[in-house]
Amino acid sequence: MIIKRLLLSVLALAMVGNLHAQGIAGGHVTGNVQLEGQMSHADTTIGAGEVPERLLMNARADILYTNGDFSAGLRFEAYQNPLLGFDAQYTGQGIANYFVAYKTQRLAVTAGTFYEQFGSGMILRAYEDRYLGIDNALLGVNLMFRPIEGVTVKALAGKQRYYWQWGDGLVRGADAEIDLNSLIRPMSDSKLHVVLGAGFVSKYENDESIPSAADPEYRLNLPLNVGAGAVRMDMNYGHWSLQTEYARKGQDPSVMNGYIYRPGEALMLNLTYSKRGFSAGLQAKHVDNMSFKSSRNQSGEMLYINYIPAINKQHTYATLTMYPYATQVIGENGLQGEVMYRFKKGTALGGKYGTDIKVNGSMIYGLDTTQVGGAGTEGYTADWLALGEKYYTEASLEIDKKLNKKLHLTATYAYQVFNPVVEGHAPDLYHNHIVVGDLSWRINKKNALHIKAEWMGSDSHYDPAEGHTDRRAGDWLMGFVEWTIGTHWFISASDQYAYNDGVGNYPSVAVGYSTGATRLQVGYGKQREGLLCVGGVCRQVPASNGLTFSLTTSF
């Protein structure tokens, strides 16, 4: 609270000076503002409910003051009330984020709220994603120290943000990273570049009474301190690159794993070869019981200490993201491979401008487990390499070609197999064929057209009479046209239509204006319910029908 007051005073003084640039003693104040609004009304055809408030709004303003090595910042957030799909616990407004920091090449200290990541995040990733409504910021102290060239040490302690409160659990962590090429003089000129790292994170929670599943007269003997450690190595040699990280977590009975005592572990491997015109990558992942939260009783996406990276291809097209895969932190085995080849200019397949082809394949399975009990037991046993239930597979081919000076075409075909069990539904397998055509046409210096046409054929079907609830089911067509006028305006129209074995017609229009760092967009139309996912982390978005608007600016 003292930090918050001090910070507010400093920022107020700085802004009294000059909001746009020079503040106190030569410092700078910068910031950005974002406002998103939504009006929606009931629409039984798409399952949209009534919004009693009529108007929903998410708004935020980040303000940063920097003066040499010193910086201070805060973020004001307002959810009056939160947009559809955001947790109602966000309702309210106030200073959500505030910090003071001192940073030099050798030392960085942050007091207040901060974000941090160790390695790939498998034991610690405090991050924020405003579109997912996730903010796992830590409130405490974060320290970075470089005692000698090539060695970086981090240490932190704090509590995690939980909507407008701070979680009860304490999070403590330390991480060290050694760049061998900087540390060891004979390696400084080596083509082989090696970075080693290791980290450890511990959380503390108070004891509480959680009954044993086997006998209600017994309670769980809870570990109050739960630790997770990881070792990692990054290697680069010529065109080759290898990143690997192994993490292990101690006993952590929680609602996420059914209060079992089995330790967790995860392994990530990422091997890539890349040179001009060609690249290939192979990723492998094994995750077993790696949900790591600062509250053992919290489900949902808040209070995660760690983050398990996604291994499947991350798409942006509407039909390709209709069945997004959410990372299964409780357990999964995955493999992904991707090859990109560029046919050179002047060749038969390359044409005048060259042609890029990407082939991607991924498959993700559950663990092959044998149950040994419920809450208060080891839970299950699992073989390392044995595959369990199929969760997701995908194969895709993408061709990217500049047709002439004005036309650019991207064509994609993908085949997906999706198991809704990963979303908590009954296990089944949906098989989807998807074709996307994406054409950009630069008409002249002031006008451009962006056209997308998508088709998805799926063996899923939607029939409310049979108790189906998944409105994504069926075969879909999707079209999108965006006209950019000059440097300021754009107009777009789109529609998603389930023409077979499903229901739903989701037309929408939008218009936008941008000038400098300010952008205003207004849209009207129907929004399909579904999952919005970023990096394997997802948020359920309900259906809506109405007006949306957004304003962003920075200074």
Binding site: G173, F200, N221
Partner: protein, 276 residues
Amino acid sequence: MKKILLPIIGAALMMAACDKIPEGEYTVFSGINATWSDGDGVEAIQRAYVEKYTGPTCTNCPLADETLDAAHETFGERLVVVSINHYEGQGKPFAGEPDMRTDGGTAWCKYFGINSLPSAYLNRNTSKQYTSSMGNIVTDIATAIAQQPVLGIGVSAKETNVGEISIGVDIQMAQAYTKPMTLTLALIEDSLAYKQSTPNGTDAEYVHNHMLRDVLTDFWGVDVQGVGAAGEKRHASFGTYSVKDENIKLENCHIVAFVSDKASKQVLNVAQCGIE
């Protein structure tokens, strides 16, 4: 080298911040459970609950005893004291002396972060901790028992067979209280003579009173069911409790029953009784 070593040592220390529960100890006995039924009611008298943390090698702990013994003289049955033997440090017994540490007491010590002795809380209000001679705890007890009670509580206990106790608790709401509450039962013993450090040296036959011998329910109590509105009355019948330590003399024991706010752990009211 020192620059590298220090962070490594720091990291190693952090590694210690990881508890490992041995296989076979994943669950612990959670105590006796209650069966709830409509009650006959009980007069609402506000009493004060003092949870005092002590240890045999704690030299100043007898100073706390003096203060609380005097308070007992003043407040009589309106004051209920439970003495909890800390689980480590000065809580460890002298060689060959009885070990008064309990699982429930250890859980409470850890939860409330007790790391110096003597320490005490009044009604588990953790915003004010009493140490050494207990400061102005007597004044605060007087203030606490002058408050309008949220509820009335009464407890009765009977030895049905040798070493087996059956317990009943009555609760009557004096005011509306909508937040979840828990009911905790503890067994305390008086007149225990064993070695104790004192400011004047070691007393081999120091008499300890109100010593916690066991938490009968779950350490954090059982959920209070069916009350909330003013005037509501409930009776909790507990299953048979079997005394675990044969050295416990039931004639010197009391059953302490207290109702607390489930989230904050603050005690709303307390009662104690002898064992018939």
